[in-house]
Symmetry: D2
Subunit: 477 residues, 4 copies
Amino acid sequence: MRNAQQYIESLRDGREVYIHGERVEDITQHPSLRKAIDHGALDYELDKRPELRDLLVTKSPRTGNEIRRYFEMPRSAEDLLKRQELIETTTKADASWVVFMKEIGTDALNALNMICADIDKKYGTEYSARVMKYWQYLEENDLSMAGAVTDVKGDRRLRPSEQEMPYYYLKVVERRPDGVVVKGCKVHTTSSPITNELFVLPTRAMAESDRDYSIAFGIPVNTPGVKIISRPERGDLAEFDYPLSARHTTLEAMTIFEDVFVPNERIFMNGEWEFAGPLANCFATWHRFTGISYKYPFSQMMIGVSALVADYNGVPRASHIQDRITDLVIYAQCIKTFGRAAALQCIMTENGVAYPNPLLCNIGKYLFASGYHTSMKAVQEIAGGLPATGPTEADCKNPATKELIERYLGGRKGVDAISRLKVMKLIRDMGGTDGAGEWWVGTLHGEGSLQAQRMSISREYDVQTCVDYVKTLLGVK
Amino acid sequence: MRNAQQYIESLRDGREVYIHGERVEDITQHPSLRKAIDHGALDYELDKRPELRDLLVTKSPRTGNEIRRYFEMPRSAEDLLKRQELIETTTKADASWVVFMKEIGTDALNALNMICADIDKKYGTEYSARVMKYWQYLEENDLSMAGAVTDVKGDRRLRPSEQEMPYYYLKVVERRPDGVVVKGCKVHTTSSPITNELFVLPTRAMAESDRDYSIAFGIPVNTPGVKIISRPERGDLAEFDYPLSARHTTLEAMTIFEDVFVPNERIFMNGEWEFAGPLANCFATWHRFTGISYKYPFSQMMIGVSALVADYNGVPRASHIQDRITDLVIYAQCIKTFGRAAALQCIMTENGVAYPNPLLCNIGKYLFASGYHTSMKAVQEIAGGLPATGPTEADCKNPATKELIERYLGGRKGVDAISRLKVMKLIRDMGGTDGAGEWWVGTLHGEGSLQAQRMSISREYDVQTCVDYVKTLLGVK
Amino acid sequence: MRNAQQYIESLRDGREVYIHGERVEDITQHPSLRKAIDHGALDYELDKRPELRDLLVTKSPRTGNEIRRYFEMPRSAEDLLKRQELIETTTKADASWVVFMKEIGTDALNALNMICADIDKKYGTEYSARVMKYWQYLEENDLSMAGAVTDVKGDRRLRPSEQEMPYYYLKVVERRPDGVVVKGCKVHTTSSPITNELFVLPTRAMAESDRDYSIAFGIPVNTPGVKIISRPERGDLAEFDYPLSARHTTLEAMTIFEDVFVPNERIFMNGEWEFAGPLANCFATWHRFTGISYKYPFSQMMIGVSALVADYNGVPRASHIQDRITDLVIYAQCIKTFGRAAALQCIMTENGVAYPNPLLCNIGKYLFASGYHTSMKAVQEIAGGLPATGPTEADCKNPATKELIERYLGGRKGVDAISRLKVMKLIRDMGGTDGAGEWWVGTLHGEGSLQAQRMSISREYDVQTCVDYVKTLLGVK
Amino acid sequence: MRNAQQYIESLRDGREVYIHGERVEDITQHPSLRKAIDHGALDYELDKRPELRDLLVTKSPRTGNEIRRYFEMPRSAEDLLKRQELIETTTKADASWVVFMKEIGTDALNALNMICADIDKKYGTEYSARVMKYWQYLEENDLSMAGAVTDVKGDRRLRPSEQEMPYYYLKVVERRPDGVVVKGCKVHTTSSPITNELFVLPTRAMAESDRDYSIAFGIPVNTPGVKIISRPERGDLAEFDYPLSARHTTLEAMTIFEDVFVPNERIFMNGEWEFAGPLANCFATWHRFTGISYKYPFSQMMIGVSALVADYNGVPRASHIQDRITDLVIYAQCIKTFGRAAALQCIMTENGVAYPNPLLCNIGKYLFASGYHTSMKAVQEIAGGLPATGPTEADCKNPATKELIERYLGGRKGVDAISRLKVMKLIRDMGGTDGAGEWWVGTLHGEGSLQAQRMSISREYDVQTCVDYVKTLLGVK
């Protein structure tokens, strides 16, 4: 297994990354990108903590070698609970900011493993074997991975093949004996500027006419023709003022495929359009399972910071504050409980994979995403106005203002101004900064939109049994 | 084990029951009470259905005799899941209307079993042994049981001993060598008019000055001095028009204790005031576990009837209707998921009892109760106005109107008027009748008020861990 | 102007009314119908109260005679405010239960007055003159009126002319020189069993193929071929136990038109299909203005009964109770404020009619209907369980139980049991009885469904101005 | 009246302002502060637009000179509507970002004018005359004003005089013949770094022991001892990327009073502790009236940007999107309708001032603040993920990425990538940037917290009338 330094070194690979309008030659030297890299690199160091080792590291059933548990294929509810604990624990260690070095990639592996078996069965293809080989390669080299799923979509009413511009969905533009050439652009490709490998999956169900858009594969990020435009991110934030986003971030990006060649052994779907929808859905379930796993720590942070600031302000028992904290507890516990249930009520596939319960994954994700704004409102309501109006670390250091701040911003007896201001800044950074902007939007749209989850919930629940029950009760047909 | 007829016969025991202003000599002959009795009696017949027998019947670990599973003391998560399935299944068999023949009584037994051990430990009393003996008696004689918990309370700001009228909480008015004499009144005593035995528990935490109010016991319903005033209930409803409440109901009552003697062997707490709160809370948890168990079928009925009426009306895919049904699915699944989780994350007590997780029981109950009105609104919104304005069975039978109704109240092609009207009547009976009135209120206040659950949630969740996490993150104390 | 007795006498007119499966020869003698009649008759007596006379009575601009203000055509915002006050005041006088003797009929007159002008303008018809003549007839004879608008609809996806059964929407089946013959059935025809006249309006927009369904007219309720099936209603309720519904109700009905002849002078639309939608919408606005006017008293009753029961229980200042009451205040004030605003921001038509602001009417109605369930939940939450479980008036009269009830059901010092029980019964009757069932559903669907209001809101608001503002701000096209 | 340049020049007055840890000598030269200054300065230029002149300028009843309408004392509902239109219009002209040059100051003048009359009446003081003189001075010199109201509060359970640190509320530390010396600190002092004058008002009700904290006055910002620490603000944002916050902001600040002398003629309350609460409440009402006035444009922007982005994405009619836009319309219209109603139902004071209706102001403000998070969620839900993940202006300018962005980020036919990206950036800047952070928090806490408004609503509504109505209905006392 690699360490942080090895991971960082591996990113000097000639990849084509842009940020703030500039091509970055060495991404490990760019302050904004480096912040994200350091955030991700922690994942390569946590196994050094003895108390975490058993959770983070396991043995490959293939080679017997130590591998990161992310690469473990879940074969039971217990495995899924372990995966959940793994994601939750690493997120918590990284200030409740999900790491996204391996989560998405292994979500893709798990989904491909399930769907490729179906494709192979129908068409006699050998995608499963390719997936397994790639899996082993990723595992043995301890690579970090991103996923490129969401196409840019153009006119959202239209199918891929109906769009005016033919590349609004990623398209196969040339078929060669040794592979294919693709052209298009994926957005919201989390971590793609700073991972080693990149999974590409279809984002929706396809019709037969969309055959050339029905493509899935995996390639190194530095493959020629791959161009990545990272969303903006500041690298110069003071940690006092931005206790989360000064040191933590995950980068979203546009990832453009400008006639990119993909060799056959890395292609996992190629024209089997009827499996595009199932693959997109299956990946979504795995990814939403990841989502509810990494979101619990943040909801605990909401509870903790609310209770702490209420205490600092001297009003821990005020009824309207207690009400909001109880709401936050219910909110957090919904995430946690549906997360566990999705693992415990997993579906065992024919080939022995434990698949997180899709209904429960979707409800869990929906409850988190749907309730996020109201929950942040509770935190902000409890805190008062200081998160928006308080002075900065620099003000606390300037002797002319230091004393004034210390004199006036204290809380109840025993609570000093600096501690209280730190808490206020955390609340600000959770909901009122550029960094928080990633979460306001990311919670709603990461792992799919609210509407996508509602459609999945509607599809997965057995409504007919309920209808039949009522029909029997009433004696109607 | 008794059968329905034996249960019904056993109610001719001279008990003092009033309804609609009259003392009822033989409650099995009174149409309103008989409806409730027949509803309850089903519980004594369901074991005849082969597919249910394994669930409903088990063996006593003490005697090896067959007993109803209600009397099984849960010793593992699996036992709790079985208990949950038992309650859910019998409720479903009784038109989603909970039976309440043994649920509350065994909730009380389970709670007493836990708390009496603590009292005995502290005071060297022998309450546990009494509880066990009573348990065996109830189990062997297959008795039905009610619980009398909620005192009338008078001025709710005041403690029992502070009230102007000394019996606003049930009080020990005389202590004899062989027992005590109590005086007071409990309200909302579900099923007490039609069960064999009656548990009496304190409703709240007590102070030392409330010692005489800190009393728990079990007695036959026909004990001299026990007077029961049943809430009103009609016994003459047409089943077509009231598909639920014509044949199903649970009776709530005022149960008055007019100098009632309780023998020592049935007393389970007697002055140990500091255990009144724990007993009330422990019972509440067991009872809320029962609550979330019996409520899932009703939420399924909400889904089923909504999908059915939308289909009958020809608009099963209308987006605003699908939205509401998806909301109902989320609602139902919250109940189910927290119910299962409360069993799976049970707490094992020292003496080997599996105690449903209090936090999860409370959240599950709260989500059901808190979301009930909005969910019924969804059902009513989907149905349209006919549940309120449609004609009756009698109108459907009158030749002068029969044909008109059949002609005009049909739905989409293939849906006849009578079937559609039946569905409308079910929706009416779920939310717009005297019978439904029991549920609008009962859901909010049964097993404790919303506020009671919120207080429990706030108490049970480990907020401090969240605070510590934030403190560590920020480096503050 | 007629008095109550004259109104009641006028109902002995041979009309064909059914209830509970029976044809009722003299509806003034049937206890259920008589309850509704007496409820309505109050409207004919309130002008005897000196303090109300100025509000209830005005002078006809045509004849100078005294007429009921309902018949006043609103010509200014002040007139609309008066109409609002009129409806609110009579409703409040009738225990917050809207009267519906003249409200709906004059809503229809106002809408016909507006739309017939447009039809006449386009086609040279003389509908307006007919409407005015009818108006004068109704006004001079002080008649009560119902409206028949909602067709039974069959398959809701299909237009009238597309339905399998041709009379799922009311249809002209014969055209004669002196009038037309219609066949069909309207549902939710509020008060039609007990009013003198009946307005019939289209319920939706029509296409050219629906020409025979595009019909509007007014006829006496006892016109041959008109058959009315009233929804069920009990006439034997005790007032103590049902403080609202023992004496108050409005009857909904199915009104069937079995080849009913309508003379030309009462026809106000006849085939002008493109005006069916505008007429339906215009009526909806007038009727929703009526809706928000009569609903404010009920919302005040919610506040009053909540504050009263909290006081009786000794906990008027408990924070969670204050919170719910504050929510109720906001709820009530939304109704009131949008009601006033709809009048004040009325639209003046070409012919000088003050038309209530459609956007504000729809939002006001939507806020009431959409928030009703949550608001009733607040009332029920505050009250506790007694509304569902308390004893009856008969129990209070039986000497054996009277004393027990009086002893145990008192509240805080100074609050006797009977008063407290009365309040509990009111809360029960507001949300937990057959009578309340009319409101749970009626609030959602009366004056149109939530979805209907949402569509109106979306249509009426000037979104484009907002879009243009953003475009200008950003410099995009 | 001054122009923008004169206003800007006037800020070079030696004031002591800190930002980012540094004392700023000339605040007009500091990029962050200058942004706020330029934002505010627009208020001094808008009167040059002919179409706005009549609204923005009026004549002084005292001098006949032209004055800004802000200084007009409202004497009728129409005046209040004008004031509302004034605030709404200037806000809209400044990109829906409230200006805060004169709003708060004139709120203070209006409140002082009302309460000082009461103090003078009771104590024979001459505060009213002082207020009038100050008013005239401000008006004639066209000065900009801030308000310092919220004390730092320390332990929020404790009164001012109970705090451990004596200056947690602003305190009079010395009384001289010609004035007083005060010490303390106010937070959330909107615009204080960049206005000419500063109002200081008590933030809460006081007890007699808090006499030294019961002080109100007005002083120039550059008064010796006044030290202002501005919250952080960036001055280097690209307008493309931050279409709102690159050019618009209002600065919040800590304003410290380090033994500041206030001359008698500027003192408007001095120890009359029983008027501190009324003054705080009265100011809150005026300020909430301002709040609902300036917030409507932002809610329109929410509607406009949502409809625009849905159109650009090709899904303007998707039902879940239409649902959210309808919710936004209801939200916006609640603000607007309560705003107008607060003016129209104003309370006329004895001395002829039109006081905005406190109940309606509070409900309007509460509805805005309480619904803000859910409404922004709707905007973000409709937009999709691009606001969080899209590239920057710099990326659009770099030739290497420009073409890719233009190719891939287009929308439906006819919608170019740059326009679409501009809309996405606006949505980001409304809810996902440091600038937006001011609004997430400011909406909740500006003009008082949600809880403050709830308390006001509870206090202002006539609950007793509702209780009496129910009592009469039931015949209880």
